[in-house]
């Protein structure tokens, strides 16, 4: 069905729909997290924040979590150690990723090498096939030549001159044998 015809039939009941009541755009704005698919971890958003924003968050956490106590050096150290652990893990993951990338590159190179080798073998097989074909055709030529010669020979043996001269050949062989003896 043509798009135009489809639309005219499909949109028939849609003509009753009225224009929407205007709404303030601010009412439609969602919290930023709603714009990200679940595959992006919320924690990752921290990486996207500016240092000033991170500092502000830290201050808010301190204000709500530790309202009656000072933020001791010890607590700070704990946080910093945890942060360092996360950084170490990230560094390890990056290193692991690089290692895997290198391994993958190695396999790829190996694959390329083997592909090249395979191409060489294929070319070699092709060459051998061609050689075989050449030898076969040569054999066919030689076979045909041999058949011609054999026919000539048969014709010769059947000829009257060959039969008439048979005694001469017999005497000739006898003479050669006597000289040899």
């Amino acid at each position: 069905m043509t798009p135009e015809r489809y639309l005219s039939q499909y949109a028939e009941p849609l003509r009753r729909i009225e224009k929407p009541t205007p709404v303030a755009w601010q009412a439609l704005v969602l919290e930023p997290d709603y714009y990200y698919p679940p595959s992006i971890e919320l924690g990752a958003h921290l990486d996207g924040l500016k240092r000033s924003e991170l500092l502000e968050i830290l201050q808010q956490i301190l204000a709500t979590e530790y309202p009656r106590q000072r933020f001791s050096k010890r607590t700070a150290r704990t946080f910093l150690e945890a942060l360092q652990q996360l950084r170490d893990e990230r560094a390890w993951r990056r290193a692991e990723m690089e290692r895997l990338t290198a391994t993958s590159a190695h396999h790829q190179a190996e694959n390329d090498r083997m592909t090249a080798e395979l191409s060489q073998y294929r070319a070699e097989v092709q060459r051998l096939f061609e050689e075989l074909e050449r030898v076969r055709s040569q054999a066919a030529v030689l076979g045909s030549e041999a058949a011609t010669l054999r026919a000539n020979l048969t014709e010769l043996y059947g000829s009257s001159s060959w039969k008439v001269t048979k005694p001469l050949r017999w005497f000739g062989r006898l003479g050669r044998a006597a000289r040899a003896g």
């Binding site: 489809y6 639309l7 009412a27 439609l28 698919p37 679940p38 500016k50």
Partner: protein
């Protein structure tokens, strides 16, 4: 190092707006006229560097402007390259901030004042870049796309929207983007100028500069309240791609982690919420009624139909699409072409939020296309929104969770009784763990509540009526533009090439096709089977069998791909009652013989096609191959006398079979 926040007023009194010019009279005129049109709070001097381009008219026009005192013109006697031209401009006044502006940009309003405010919003801001339509990570509406301006939106209206929706907002960037880049003088003083030795012709120089600046502690900001139009690729045209690749190589030599930094930024996309605010501002302005489509996220024909329909409705409606992101979440996206807006709601926690949001969006009508893969809670949405809705049947999901009515091996189940269906479900349990009666009851309610249940073929209507008789079925074949595909005559390799179009699952006939190829191999038939599309499961193929798959393809390329294959016939090995089949439309457009099963919409759509050969849906591979071989006789390509005898026999058989099928098809219709 400056530790205190300086106000723009305490900074250098003047800002140099540096515009390097090479070619493009019309673009450069638009750019300069836009810069000159809007007076700024900040005093600025417009410095144009004419880099000895190939257009004398452009140079003459610039000279006139300079003589009139509108700009300061620096003329290079020979072409020195983009980066040298920019550096010459930046060196001119060594105490001023600068804005580098490409000559194919256009600005609006108090753009410079807004950029400048952002540049002084924090002490260590080195560079500031605005949003643009064509500027990689600063792109709008779509991130990292060369966008056009949204339809119906001028630069003035869009820049005004950014200024209002994102007033005072910014995010940190890993690097500025060179189309429009504000650089504070203290950053230039500490970091130096662009590296003209390495990046002489442009592309990559601003990234390298920013990475150097980051190393000494400067930040780069995306100023979210300014939008600058950027045409892109005017000076270098086709060369742009090669220059970008070359620049990337040079950048990676100096900063091996550059791509990782950019990749991390793109993955996190921290500016997304800023683009969303502008999207919503624009959406709120739209006077068009809003519709919500509900569909799955499996792609294929359903997705194609949903996209086509949304596009058809664009002039008069704002269409939103709701689809699952997994069993515990859905996304809602704005389906208008060129837009990117989408929101994500986790279920069941955010169900109320989703419901309220759809009401806020003033959705006035729903259209359900599919709900497979959806959280069951979404079914409640129809009741909770209490809006009129349509339901299009793309398969038989409402009457069977095995939506193609197929057994595990892909073969049509024959629609057994309730006991048979429940036995099937015991082996392959339905979503939500329902038995067949409960399943059909639930969907009957859903379909009976629809204003229209749209089916693309009579076959679907007849089949569905046996289970849900009271729904208001309306037959509307899918909208498709007229197609015409030119296929060069016959494959050149002396055998019959049988083409199959589309992704092949068991229900689409994957195993049947494999059986045909195996039979052709066994009997030494001159047949070759080629599939444009991938196989869903591994099957034997070349070199073991005369069968090969092209892999995934783009619909837009299909006519070309079909022509390139030079097929002799097209085969639909489907094992289920298809409801429409877009690929059949392509096949029909070729005018080639089509061999298809006498089942579902295929036989209905082929009823009037003179070159159709319909077979029983479960015809053995030998029978299918005999029909293919019979085509050889028609084309006069009989390879052997022995085969001719065989071909004659099967030709008679296939003609008879085809006549029967025509009768059947007319009954169905």
């Amino acid at each position: 190092m400056d530790t205190e926040l300086e106000s723009p007023a305490t900074q250098a009194a003047l800002v140099d707006v540096i515009i390097p010019v090479y070619k493009g009279v019309a673009e450069t005129r638009r750019c300069l006229e836009s810069v000159l049109a809007f007076p700024q709070g900040a005093a600025r001097e417009i410095v144009v560097v004419d880099d000895c381009g190939p257009e004398p008219a452009l140079s003459a026009w610039l000279r006139d402007l300079a003589e009139a005192g509108a700009i300061t013109l620096l003329v290079n006697p020979v072409n020195t390259g983009f980066v040298n031209a920019v550096n010459r401009g930046m060196i001119l006044h060594p105490d001023r901030d600068v804005v580098l502006l490409n000559s194919d940009t256009e600005v609006h309003g108090d753009w410079l004042d807004r950029l400048r405010r952002c540049a002084y919003s924090a002490p260590r801001v080195g560079t500031v870049t605005p949003f643009t339509n064509n500027g990689a990570i600063c792109g709008y509406p779509r991130f990292n796309h060369a966008n056009a301006l949204p339809a119906g939106w001028s630069l003035a209206a869009l820049d005004g929207t950014f200024a209002e929706a994102n007033a005072g907002l910014s995010v940190e960037l890993p690097t500025a983007v060179g189309f429009c880049m504000y650089i504070r003088r203290n950053c230039l003083n500490e970091v130096g100028y662009f590296d003209a030795r390495v990046f002489q012709r442009g592309y990559g120089e601003e990234n390298e500069f920013c990475l150097r600046a980051t190393e000494v502690g400067f930040e780069h900001l995306l100023c979210a309240e300014v939008f600058v139009y950027h045409q892109g690729s005017v000076s270098f045209g086709e060369e742009t791609k090669a220059l970008c690749a070359e620049a990337e190589g040079k950048l990676l030599e100096r900063y091996p982690n550059y791509l990782q930094v950019i990749g991390d930024y793109c993955n996190l996309d921290p500016a997304r919420f800023l683009r969303r605010r502008v999207d919503l501002f624009r959406l709120a302005q739209s006077p068009r009624p809003r519709m919500l489509f509900i569909t799955h996220n499996w792609g294929g024909g359903t997705e194609k139909h949903v996209r086509n329909l949304a596009e058809l409705l664009e002039p008069d409606f704002e269409v939103m699409i709701l689809r699952p992101t997994g069993p515990d979440g859905v996304s809602v996206e704005w389906a208008r072409g060129g837009e990117e807006w989408s929101g994500y709601f986790s279920l069941p926690q955010a169900y109320s939020k989703l419901l309220d949001y759809l009401k806020l969006l003033a959705i006035s009508r729903l259209h359900v296309h599919h709900i497979i893969g959806m959280n069951r809670q979404i079914l409640g949405l129809l009741e909770d929104l209490a809006l009129p809705y349509d339901f299009t049947l793309h398969d038989y999901y409402p009457i069977c969770p095995q939506y193609t009515l197929s057994l595990a091996d892909g073969r049509y189940c024959g629609e057994p009784d309730v006991e048979g269906c429940n036995a099937c479900l015991a082996e392959r349990p339905a979503l939500w763990g329902l038995d067949i009666v409960t399943w059909r009851e639930g969907f009957s309610k859903l379909l009976n509540g629809a204003e229209r249940v749209i089916v693309a073929s009579e076959d679907v209507r007849a089949r569905m009526r046996r289970y849900i008789p009271d729904a208001r079925y309306v037959r509307l074949p899918h909208p498709e533009p007229a197609l015409s595909i030119s296929v060069p005559h016959g494959s050149p390799c002396g055998e019959l090439k049988i083409l199959v179009i589309g992704r092949l699952s068991p229900a689409k006939g994957l195993y049947r096709l494999e059986a045909c190829a195996a039979d052709a191999q066994k009997r030494g038939l001159p047949l070759y089977f080629r599939v444009i599309g991938p196989a869903d499961w591994p099957v034997r193929q070349e070199p073991e069998l005369p069968l090969s798959f092209s892999g995934a393809y783009d619909d837009a390329d299909l006519p070309l791909l079909i022509g390139r294959e030079r097929p002799d016939a097209i085969f639909f090995p489907a094992q289920w009652p298809e409801t429409y089949s877009y690929t059949l439309s392509y096949a029909l457009a070729t005018g080639l013989p089509i061999i298809a099963p006498r089942l579902g919409a295929l036989s209905e759509r082929l009823a009037d096609y003179p070159k159709a050969r319909l077979l029983a849906w479960d015809a053995p591979a030998t029978e299918c191959n005999d029909v293919f071989v019979s085509l050889l006789e028609r084309s006069g390509g009989l390879p052997t006398a022995a085969m001719a005898v065989q071909v004659q026999a099967v030709a008679d058989l296939s003609m008879k079979d085809n006549q029967d099928s025509r009768v059947d098809a007319s009954h169905d219709a």
